[in-house]
Amino acid sequence: MAKRNALRSLLASVLVGLLMSALLIAGCSGGGQRAAAEKVLKVGMWSPPKSLNPLAVDDAYSTQLFDFIYPKLFRFDHSLEPVPYLATSWDITPDGKTYTFHLSPDAVWEDGEPVTSADVAMTLRLMADKGTGALLYTNLQSIVGIAAYHDGTAGSISGITTPDVSTVVINLKEPNAAFLGNIYYYILPEHILGDVAAADIDQNPYFKAPVGAGPFKLVKYETGQYAEFAANDKCVLGRPKVDRLYLQFGNQDALMASLEKGELDVAPIAAGDVERFKDIKKLSVISEPSVSIQMLHVNSAKPYLADKRVRQAFAYALDRQGIVDTLLEGQGTVVDSHYLSPEWAVSSNLKHYDYNPDKAKQLLSEAGWDSSREIVLRVPTGDKAREGSAPIIKAGLESVGVKVKIEMADFPTVLKAARSGDFDLTIIGWPFGLDPDMTSIGFESKNVPLNGWNIGHYANDRVDELLAQGRLTTSLDERRRIYHEYQEILNEDLPWIPLFCPNNIFGVSDKVTGVNPITYYVWGQMNPVLWNVNELEVTQ
């Protein structure tokens, strides 16, 4: 009996101990409550920023954070028109080769120092400097003297001058209608970083506690967890209406749970959860078409894929609407264009490739497709809709007599294979939007890797001609005509087959007012709800 008693008391103490500690911890309310008067906005984001240094990284997650703290020369408004930010105005000479920016006298850094032309000149210089990795060099290539500086044969960029503290003049080698979009990036303070060698910038303590001039100041950055911001009273755009902003990083499931629980005010929602979230009170679901298109890249450098009839046949063989209906539960659109924004550049004369296996078979036989050939579809993992669309694509192609082998691998692996030409088909998403010239990275013949992303080695002389004209011409009417023709050629040639465009889906608490989401994509605005973060307000 003694044995039994000993055991019983042991078991009892284990149970009581566990229960006690659980109750103790669960019973305590969460700490860190702030004064009720403070207006706090809490936003969820899928991935943490890679770095706080805009010269080192330019991915969508990092730039979302940059957008809060670092200023830009100008912003794009809801209709993609550039509007003042640091610069109150800018003049472009009639020949389209000289841009003069006039900085606002009210623009100051968080520490009270004025924003000057030296800040802008230094930032552009660092962006082109090999020592920083010259991440955005491509965008600056039209500036006079930029190549000499990049190669180290010149100590400064001759095309950038600062006649006085509030004026920046940029000279271009030739007109570039896309130039404003090209220099749309974050400005850093010269009074702090001016004396730092380019190669040492990355290690500078500045990027641990950046001094910005954006709408918010970075208060705390908990790696992999969250970033805390406070309203910047001195922001030239005006003080934001909320006092404090949190950006929480996490996976989709966790963010949705936090949103449902009220721990977050804004968070992305998966397509499959839209209906469930619509039933939750105190929340509204925003499901807006995005401009990010999932494209089936075709390697036209392979002789058997060089015939455009083959690529057209592939398009007809795919049940793209089926993909949108099943995988995205209707939260997306089938598209036939290679870019959806800006609106003026999108042609209304595009051919729609409906789901038509018979037509596909006919085109394939015309092109003399060898049905014993097996082609490789490389699919990067990580995006559910993209992964899920692979078997549907395979089934569609096999039903018209094209054998397909799916190779799944992580993103870096697929990227490497794609850029070295080791693929027949691959699926990658593209967020084109600010200017149609952005798309040249994928279709201009000079942009084959290593240079750009024309991974299928697509070459069409007329396309090259149109892209060159589109850059040199500043007349909007002229550009409209050029890009419509360009888009119609892509629609006919199908160097990439546009698959679908998933909606951007966000849940927003009813506490948040002033929400006016955008549909286009530019740097720093991955979350369309945060586009006008200054005007967002939180009611209790």
Partner: protein, 317 residues
């Protein structure tokens, strides 16, 4: 004893060095290119690509890069992250404490629960209680941690609303110890439960073996109280193999708590490994690898030394 530790240290250093060579080669043989991963497709150009490769030192031959890494290491520098340029020591270091909290918490729960349960199951061998415990451990081992984690979030955070969904602290509440504890509960329980199940099985069989030994019969024959027989004579001997199991699982949990860390947004070593892999951030991966190798060494050594401390029959000369 000291000589023993010295010998172990020497052989381990050679082993770990060899390991870094192998890891370095394997990492660099992985398909994928860090420079390519770091430039947004829309900004890709030959100039940017080559500048990035030069900046990261990727343009140099592999052996040169390894020797550089090694010589930096001898100065206590583990290199810099490809992605944000911060020192590897700092990047890995900031993940160490979160991982430590998680792993130690989980092991603590596991030991506190599994040792008594193992004893009970052994003493009441083949009873209904024993079968129930066996069933429980089987359940814990079989259930995938992602499922358990999501279930815990659904029940404890969403339905009962007594615990936060994830993360290490509430937004803005990072200084508060109670807030941290509340965030620690779910990940520790989920990670701990599987360890509990494993340890309970070990404890049960170890205890059974000891209980069948002659000295236990002698102790009982002497008329000692059952409590004394169980906890003094049997437990002390039965717990020795458990030390090894726990020591081995420390480094394993450090690198292997990936799923738990992902589900609960815990910024530990596991999630850093995933991030670094996705970016092909070799210096970070080398750093983590070195850390885990060191940890295996330290934990094994600690287990061996602890052996000697709890079991007078074991001596290292």
């Amino acid at each position: 004893m000291l000589a023993y530790v010295g010998r172990r240290l020497l052989s381990s250093i050679l082993l770990i060095l060899g390991l870094t060579v192998v890891t370095f080669i394997i990492l660099n043989a992985m398909p994928g290119d860090p420079a390519e991963m770091m430039i947004s497709p829309l900004h890709m150009s030959q100039e940017a690509y080559q500048a990035k490769r030069e900046l990261l030192g990727l343009d140099r031959p592999l052996p040169v890069r390894y020797v550089n890494w090694l010589s930096e290491l001898s100065h206590g520098n583990l290199g810099y992250s490809y992605v944000d340029g911060r020192p590897v020591l700092e990047r890995v270091g900031e993940r160490l404490m979160p991982s430590l909290q998680l792993v130690l918490g989980a092991l603590l729960v596991a030991i506190l629960v599994s040792v008594p349960l193992g004893i009970i199951a052994a003493v009441r061998k083949n009873s209904r209680l024993d079968y129930t415990l066996t069933g429980f451990t089987l359940f814990c081992i079989s259930i995938p941690s992602f499922f358990l984690g999501l279930l815990a979030i659904y029940v404890l955070a969403l339905k009962l609303d007594i615990l936060p969904v994830g993360g290490m602290y509430s937004l803005g509440g990072s200084g508060d110890i109670l807030d941290r504890l509340r965030h620690l509960v779910m990940p520790v329980l989920v990670l701990g439960l599987m360890q509990t199940a494993v340890l309970t099985r070990y404890m049960r069989s170890s205890m059974l073996e000891v209980l069948n030994q002659d000295f236990i019969r002698t102790a009982r024959a002497k008329g000692l109280r059952e409590r004394l027989v169980l906890f003094k004579h049997a437990l002390r001997n039965a717990i020795i193999p458990i030390i090894t199991v726990v020591a081995v699982s420390v480094p394993q949990l450090f690198g292997g708590a990936v799923i738990t860390e992902q589900i609960f947004q815990w910024p530990g070593i596991g999630s850093l490994t995933l991030e670094a892999l996705a970016a092909r951030d070799y210096p970070i991966l080398m750093g983590i690898n070195l850390l885990l190798a060191l940890m295996v060494f330290v934990c094994n050594l600690a287990a061996d030394l602890l052996y000697a401390a709890v079991d007078p029959r074991i001596r290292y000369d």
